[in-house]
C-alpha cells in the first residue's frame, strides 16, 4: 500500500495549514524524518517530516492552499512499489483542535467541559460591500486567472514605471493593453485609465486568521479596564548604562535593553502579587505557579508572543540573551510551539516607534497586558495596564502596576 503523507497538526490550536514550500520533488527517495515540505500555521512556518521511508510518488496538494489537518498532501511509494494509477489518498479526520490553548498548568485543573462562551464569528463573510478592485466599465485587463493581456512594450513600460497593468483598460485587439494606454496613466487624463489607486485583496494567512479570531474574542468577551501610570526612568536608564558597561568590561556579549528591564520589573511585580498572575477559565480562575512573560514581537505578516519563562527567577543578562534569541527565531518563523504557547502575562512595547501611550488588548486566557510607550523629555514612560476585570479588580491591578513602576524607579531591586 502506498503511504499518504497528511497535513499534520503541528500545534494544539492548528486546524489547517497553508502548504508553503516543497523541499523534495516527485521521484525523490526519502527516509523517515526527512523534511518534505514547509507549512505555515497560525503561529509559524513549520516543517513536515516523512513518517516512513519511501519514494515520493506525487504531490496531491497545491502550494499556497489552506488544507485542514489530515488532508493528504503527497503520496509515497514504498521501496519497489508501483502505485496504481487510480490510487486515491484518503482524508483522515483531524483530531479536534483546542479552541484556545489552555496554559499547561491549567490543563489538569480545568474541567473538560466545552467553553460556554461561544467562539465569536470573525469576518464570516466579507464586510466591505464595494472594493476598488474592478475598474468601472469598461473592464480592465485583469482577467480570469490573473494573467494580464498586454503587449510586450506595455509590459515593459509598466514595469519601468511601476504601473499595475491589471488596472489599465486596454484599447488594443481584444482589450489588450498597448503602450498608449499607459502613456497618461499616472498623470491622469486618459479616459482609458482608471486613475484611482487599486485596493488589493490579500487572502488571510493562517497567522492573520489566528490574530483576528483571538483578539476579536478577547475584545468582545473580556471585560477590559485600563490603568495608567508614568514611571520615571532616569534611574533605570542610568542603571542600564552601568550594567552594560559592566558587561562590556567583562567582554560579555550582553546588552540589556529597556524592554528587558520592563520584563524583569513586571515579573517581579507578578511574583509579589501572585493573584494577578492568573487566567480566567470559565468556571474557575487559574493562578499560575510560574511567572512566564509573553513579549509581543512584530514579525512579517503579524505578531507573535514568545515567552520568557520564569522571568522572575532569571537575571537581567539571562533575560536579555533569551529575548534576543527568541526574537530572532520569531522573525525567522522558527519558534517552536512550546516557545510561544502559554505565558501568564504579556508586554507590548511600542516605545521604539515614539508612541506616547496606548492600551493593548488582553491576550487570552491571560488576565493582563502591559502597554509601554516611549520615554518623554523628562525620561518618563507611560505604562498602561489592560486588565480582565473577571480576574483582577481595580485595587489589585493598581497594586500590580504600582509595583512595576516602583521596580523600574528603584532598579537596584532588579538585580537582587
Amino acid at each position: 500500500m502506498p503511504i499518504d503523507l497528511l497535513m499534520p497538526q503541528l500545534s494544539p490550536t492548528m486546524t489547517e495549514g497553508r502548504l508553503a514550500k516543497w523541499l523534495k520533488s516527485p521521484g525523490d527517495a526519502i527516509k523517515a524524518g526527512d523534511v518534505v515540505a514547509e507549512v505555515e500555521t497560525d503561529k509559524a512556518t513549520m516543517e513536515v517530516e516523512a513518517s516512513e521511508d519511501g519514494v515520493i510518488h506525487q504531490f496531491v496538494a497545491e502550494l499556497g492552499t489552506d488544507l485542514p489537518v489530515g488532508t493528504p498532501i503527497a503520496v509515497l511509494a514504498k521501496k519497489g512499489e508501483t502505485v496504481p494509477a487510480d490510487y486515491q489518498p484518503k482524508v483522515k479526520a483531524a483530531p479536534k483542535a483546542e479552541a484556545v490553548s489552555a496554559p499547561a498548568a491549567a490543563a489538569a485543573a480545568a474541567p473538560a467541559a466545552a467553553a460556554p462562551v461561544a467562539a465569536p464569528v470573525v469576518l464570516a463573510a466579507p464586510v466591505l460591500p464595494v472594493l476598488n478592485t474592478a475598474s468601472v466599465a469598461p473592464v480592465a485587463a485583469a482577467p480570469k486567472g490573473g494573467r494580464v493581456v498586454a503587449s510586450p512594450l506595455a509590459k515593459r513600460l509598466a514595469a519601468q514605471q511601476g504601473l499595475d497593468l491589471s488596472r489599465v483598460v486596454g484599447s488594443g485587439p481584444r482589450g489588450r493593453v498597448v503602450a498608449k494606454d499607459l502613456q497618461n496613466a499616472p498623470r491622469g487624463g486618459s479616459a482609458n485609465v482608471v486613475v484611482r489607486r487599486p485596493d488589493s485583496v490579500e487572502k488571510l494567512t493562517p497567522m492573520r486568521k489566528a490574530i483576528a479570531a483571538r483578539l476579536t474574542q478577547s475584545k468582545q468577551t473580556v471585560p477590559h479596564f485600563y490603568l495608567k501610570v508614568r514611571a520615571d526612568m532616569a534611574a533605570a536608564l542610568e542603571f542600564r548604562k552601568q550594567l552594560n558597561a559592566h558587561y562590556e568590561a567583562r567582554s560579555e556579549k550582553v546588552k540589556v535593553s529597556v524592554n528587558d528591564l520592563i520584563i524583569k520589573a513586571s515579573a517581579l511585580a507578578l511574583a509579589q502579587y501572585p493573584a494577578a498572575n492568573a487566567a480566567w477559565n470559565t468556571d474557575s480562575v487559574v493562578q499560575f505557579g510560574n511567572v512566564d512573560i509573553s513579549v509581543a514581537v512584530s514579525i512579517e505578516g503579524g505578531l507573535i508572543t514568545p515567552i520568557v519563562a520564569n522571568a522572575d527567577q532569571k537575571s537581567l543578562g539571562a533575560i536579555s540573551t533569551e529575548m534576543k534569541t527568541l526574537a530572532a527565531a520569531a522573525r525567522a518563523n522558527q519558534l517552536k510551539p512550546e516557545q510561544y504557547t502559554g505565558g501568564s502575562f504579556s508586554i507590548s512595547n511600542l516605545g521604539m516607534y515614539g508612541i506616547e501611550e496606548f492600551a493593548a488588548i488582553i491576550n487570552p486566557p491571560q488576565a493582563a497586558i502591559l502597554a509601554v510607550g516611549a520615554a518623554d523629555e523628562l525620561e518618563r514612560v507611560a505604562l498602561t495596564l489592560s486588565v480582565d476585570h473577571r480576574v483582577i479588580d481595580g485595587a489589585l491591578g493598581a497594586e500590580l502596576l504600582g509595583a512595576i513602576k516602583a521596580n523600574l524607579e528603584n532598579p537596584v531591586g532588579l538585580v537582587l
Binding site: S151, P152, L153, V178
Partner: protein
C-alpha cells in the same frame, strides 16, 4: 430607384475591399466604377509596374548569368511584349475583382457618379441610386503644376503613359526621385535607357532613412543612372521629337520625360456636398476638401457623417494597402452605427510599410533614425549587411542593409529600414513586430530560419544590442 445600405464610389483597393467588408457584415452594397475594376493600383499602378520591374530584374539576371556558370545569349528585348505582359497581368486581376464582387453579392454599377443629394447618387447612363451611407474611394491621379510641370501625354508622361509607351526611349528625364520616379528609373535603366533622375530635395527617396537613401543613390549610379539632387527643373517643354528643360539653369534635351511629383485626389465632378452647395447634410456644415483631399476623422467620416472617404482621395499616405485598411475600418464603422458588429480600432499611421521595387529594393516601416531622434527618443541602432548573410551571397545579392532602430529606454522597435534583395518581403516581420508592440527581446527570442535573408532581422537586432553573432 434602387436603394442600398452602402454605395462605394470607386473600385480600387480601397473601394472594392470596403464593399466586400460591408457585404460580409450583412449590408446591401453597390459599387460604382467609371473605368476598369480595380482602379489605379491594379490597372495603372502597383501591379502593372511590378510586372514591368520583373522584366527588368530578369534582364539583370541574364546579364549576370555567366557569374553563375550559365551560358545565356542576350538577344535584346521585345519592348511591346514587355508592356503587353504587364497589361495582361492587370487585365487578369481586374477580372478577378469582378468575380469577387459577384461572389460577395455586390452590385457593380458602371458609370461616373455624382451626388444629387446626400442620399442619392446620379450615375451617368444608369440613373439614380439611393443609399444610406456612401464611401467615396475615387482615388487620385498624377499631380501636375499647370504651366510649370505639365504632362502632354505624348513626350511628357505621367505614370500612366510611362507604363504603356509604344517604344523604348533612348534618353529619359524623371522628375522627381520619390518611390514612383525611382521605380521607373530602375525599369528604364535596366532596359538600356539613359536615365536622368532629378530630385528637388537633397536626397532621393527623401521619405526613407538617410542611410538607405545614400545606399540607393550609390547603387543606382553604379547601374549607370545620372542622379541630380537639389535639382531645379524649369521650362519643361515638349519639342517636336522629345522634351527640353533647363536643369539647374542648363538647357538639356531628352527623348521623353516622366512627371512623378506626387498625386492629387479625384474630388472634381462628384458634386460633393460641401458647405457651399447647400445639400441637406444637416448634422454638419458639409464636407471639407483641403489640398485636393477630403478631410475625414479617425473612422473616415467626412463632415457629413454618413458619407465616408477613404484611400488616396482622403489624402496621404497614398498607398494601396492603406486604402484597403481604411476601407475595412470605414465599412465596419458603418455597420457598427447600424448596430452590426463592434466598433473598429482606428488605424496606426506610424506603422505603415513603404515599399519601393527598384533594384535594390527599399522597404521600411516606422520612424527613420532622424525622425526618431527628433521625436525625442534616445535610440539604439542595429545594422546588418547583406554581405555577411549566407543566403544573400548564394543568391548573388551581396549589396544591402537591414537597419533597426530601438528606443534605448524601453526597447520599443521604433523603425526598420531595409535595402537589398527581397527587402519588400522581409519588412512584414517588422510591421507585425511594431503592430504587436514587440521589444528587442521578442525578436531575440524568436528562432529565425536558416538559411534565409530573414536571418538578418535577428542579426540586426542583435547588433543593436552590441552582440551580433555573424558580423
Amino acid at each position: 430607384m434602387q436603394q442600398y445600405d452602402v454605395v462605394v464610389i470607386g473600385s480600387g483597393p480601397g473601394g472594392y475591399v470596403a464593399a466586400i467588408r460591408a457585404s460580409q457584415l450583412g449590408l446591401k452594397v453597390a459599387i460604382v466604377e467609371r473605368a476598369e475594376m480595380g482602379g489605379v493600383c491594379l490597372n495603372w499602378g502597383c501591379i502593372p509596374t511590378k510586372a514591368l520591374l520583373k522584366a527588368a530584374e530578369l534582364k539583370r539576371a541574364v546579364a549576370h548569368a555567366a557569374d553563375f556558370g550559365l551560358k545565356v545569349k542576350d538577344e535584346g528585348l521585345d519592348f511591346a511584349k514587355i508592356i503587353g505582359r504587364s497589361r495582361d497581368v492587370a487585365a487578369q486581376l481586374s477580372k478577378g475583382i469582378s468575380f469577387l464582387m459577384k461572389k460577395n453579392k455586390i452590385e457593380v454599377i458602371k458609370g461616373e457618379a455624382k451626388f444629387k443629394t446626400d442620399k442619392v447618387l446620379e450615375v451617368a447612363g444608369v440613373g439614380e441610386v439611393g443609399f444610406g451611407h456612401a464611401i467615396i474611394a475615387t482615388g487620385a491621379r498624377a499631380k501636375q503644376i499647370p504651366g510649370v510641370l505639365e504632362a502632354d501625354g505624348k513626350h511628357i508622361w505621367t505614370a500612366r503613359e510611362a507604363m504603356v509607351p509604344a517604344e523604348l526611349p533612348a534618353t529619359l528625364l524623371i522628375i522627381v526621385g520619390g518611390a514612383i520616379g525611382v521605380e521607373f528609373a530602375s525599369f528604364y535603366a535596366a532596359l538600356g535607357c539613359q536615365v536622368t533622375l532629378c530630385e528637388a530635395q537633397h536626397r532621393i527617396v527623401p521619405a526613407e532613412d538617410e542611410e538607405i537613401s545614400a545606399l540607393l543613390h550609390k547603387a543606382l549610379e553604379k547601374e549607370g543612372m545620372k542622379i541630380l539632387i537639389n535639382a531645379k527643373v524649369a521650362n519643361l517643354k515638349a519639342t517636336k521629337t522629345g522634351v527640353s528643360a533647363d536643369i539647374n539653369g542648363k538647357a538639356e534635351s531628352f527623348d521623353r520625360a516622366i512627371l512623378a511629383i506626387g498625386v492629387v485626389g479625384n474630388v472634381e465632378g462628384l458634386n460633393l456636398p460641401t458647405p457651399q452647395m447647400g445639400h441637406s447634410g444637416k448634422a454638419s456644415g458639409g464636407m471639407v476638401v483641403e489640398k485636393g483631399a477630403i478631410v475625414v476623422n479617425d473612422y473616415y467620416q467626412t463632415g457629413v457623417p454618413h458619407l465616408y472617404a477613404i484611400g488616396d482621395v482622403a489624402g496621404a499616405p497614398w498607398l494601396a494597402h492603406v486604402a484597403s485598411h481604411e476601407g475595412v475600418i470605414a465599412a465596419e464603422h458603418i455597420a457598427h452605427t447600424l448596430g452590426k458588429g463592434a466598433k473598429p480600432h482606428p488605424m496606426d499611421y506610424t506603422n505603415i510599410p513603404g515599399c519601393t521595387y527598384c533594384t535594390p529594393q527599399v522597404a521600411s516601416t516606422g520612424y527613420t533614425e532622424a525622425a526618431a531622434k527628433e521625436a525625442g527618443h534616445k535610440v539604439k541602432v542595429g545594422r546588418f549587411n547583406y554581405q555577411a548573410n549566407g543566403k544573400a551571397l548564394a543568391m548573388g545579392e551581396p549589396v544591402g542593409l537591414v537597419k533597426v532602430i530601438f528606443d534605448e529606454a524601453t526597447g520599443a522597435l521604433l523603425g526598420a529600414h531595409i535595402i537589398g534583395a527581397e527587402a519588400t518581403e522581409m519588412i512584414s516581420t517588422f510591421v507585425l513586430g511594431r503592430s504587436m508592440e514587440a521589444v528587442e527581446a521578442d525578436f531575440l527570442h524568436a528562432c529565425l530560419p536558416h538559411p534565409t535573408l530573414s536571418e538578418m532581422i535577428g542579426e540586426a537586432v542583435l547588433n543593436s544590442e552590441g552582440r551580433a553573432l555573424n558580423a
